[in-house]
Assembly symmetry: C2
Homo-oligomer: 170 residues x 2
């Protein structure tokens, strides 16, 4: 009887241990993020562009799908579910052609594409990351879960604008 009781207790302990959520552990299940590029993004309307100097040396442009653009133009946060914002990034390079015309070195244009990033609003699926699914793609391939970890904490600094840094250019 004692051996049997032991096995029963062991089984119960194992079941309990397996059912404890793994949050906080180093091998905790990562928050869901965007692993497939939404289709048609290159056709979306223009939100704004930016030049990042420093280490990035990047020229970027942000486009938004219909839902995102509508929300931007209404000036209302949070963005509704279904809104998708894409940031197309390129190396910031001088344009020799343009500089010849201007007569001095002053013109910088998009060079080689570097990465494409997405923010997809789904307040249920991406509840763990403020309602936004973050995505990062290089040569069409998604980044891994470790790479995606810093996205949400950094974007939380833009809490006032629903985690979105980019403003709409009129």
């Amino acid at each position: 009887m004692k051996r049997f009781a032991f096995f029963v207790v062991a089984a119960i302990v194992s079941l309990v241990a397996l059912s404890i959520p793994a949050t906080g552990h180093a091998d905790a299940a990562p928050a869901p993020y965007v692993t497939e590029m939404p289709s048609g993004y290159r056709d979306w309307q223009w939100v704004s562009s930016a030049h990042e100097a420093g280490n990035l040396n990047s020229l970027g442009s942000v486009l938004g799908n219909e839902i995102a653009i509508k929300a931007y133009r209404e000036g209302k946060w949070p963005f509704p579910d279904g809104a998708i914002i894409v940031a197309l990034h390129y190396k910031n390079v001088p344009s020799d052609e343009n500089n010849k015309v201007f007569g001095q070195a002053q013109s910088f244009v998009p060079g080689a594409p570097t990465n494409i990033q997405f923010m997809v609003k789904d307040s249920v699926k991406y509840a763990a990351t403020g309602g936004w699914g973050f995505g990062h793609f290089q040569d069409g391939k998604p980044a891994n879960a470790d790479f995606m970890k810093p996205c949400f904490p950094c974007h939380q600094k833009a809490k006032v604008t629903d985690l979105v840094f980019t403003r709409y250019a009129p």
Copy 2:
């Protein structure tokens, strides 16, 4: 008879003088250009963006209507009639918000709008300026004819790409 002959000759000379086209004169009729902003331009698709340093200190974005975008994507010049390209220009300003997040001054975004420029392809109407009608608007108002004079000669330096400097960003 001599006096009569004189008057006839004088009349003929006057008629000939009046019929000579006034090209080359300081008061020659200016080439037609775009004086009304095409509607719906802010909804057009994104072509590319650029940062102009130097005196301009400008961040600009180029959008194209359906005909222009199609031509760009096919990579064929010249652009067909009906193509319209718009360049939205803004002051290039640092973003304090973004710089706080990045931890250093590196982020430049569109500030106040400066001007909106158009190129409208109509090889008949704008034959005098390479088939393109040029437009320049500030606060919604078109520039005058004198201001528009340098557009065409400068754009002729981009003859290889049908007078269009901006390349399509993939």
